[in-house]
Amino acid sequence: SAVISQKPSRDICQRGTSLTIQCQVDSQVTMMFWYRQQPGQSLTLIATANQGSEATYESGFVIDKFPISRPNLTFSTLTVSNMSPEDSSIYLCSGSGYTEAFFGQGTRLTVV
């Protein structure tokens, strides 16, 4: 399976600022997925990112708040914009192969 390097692993940010999370995959994947996970909870899909097209967002998530880039088949970024304490969470990126999904190590974001 592929390996995804996700950075940063954690950050503490001031409200009103933005944070960009990066995911680098060691092989090409068609789709990448971005999730948010509250502590002790399941994963909530934010958006699906395909190279060369605008990301597809799930209900409750908008591009202005969570812009995503997918410049090539091995890289993607998620920006959390104009942060508030409610954005404090774990953010995970994922890529899917034919028979399994693999994940980055997660970013623990705390907004103060």
Binding site: G40, L43, S96, T99, A101
Partner: protein, 115 residues
């Protein structure tokens, strides 16, 4: 809705004993995969075991095995000889071949292992 249900928010097991985590799912797909992922406090999602729906034989990976009941849409995980390192959140998930759609996850079961 095509959902994955884990009815046990928390489970505990004595070290060296066996525990079974439950999962049921709903799907209209004829070809799909089922997964159990483990998430320790490090946050890394780790694939524990995978089952292809077209295979009748239950998947096994060392101490981990599944009981896949396709007609009942049930997919339970059995952990034998539990170890302290097995303590984690366990997520059941369903996906389809191709990788172009995201997995559908259950809410998770938190497993504690008692020494």
């Amino acid at each position: 809705a095509q959902t994955v249900t884990q009815s046990q928010p928390e489970m505990s097991v004595q070290e060296a004993e066996t525990v079974t985590l439950s999962c049921t799912y709903d799907t209209s797909e004829s070809d799909y995969y089922l997964f159990w992922y483990k998430q320790p406090p490090s946050r890394q999602m780790i694939l524990v075991i995978r089952q292809e729906a077209y295979k009748q034989q239950n998947a096994t990976e060392n101490r981990f095995s599944v009981n896949f009941q396709k007609a009942a849409k049930s997919f339970s995980l059995k952990i034998s000889d539990s170890q302290l390192g097995d303590a984690a959140m366990y997520f059941c998930a369903r996906g389809v071949p191709s990788g172009n759609t995201p997995l559908v996850f259950g809410k998770g079961t938190r497993l504690s292992v008692i020494a």
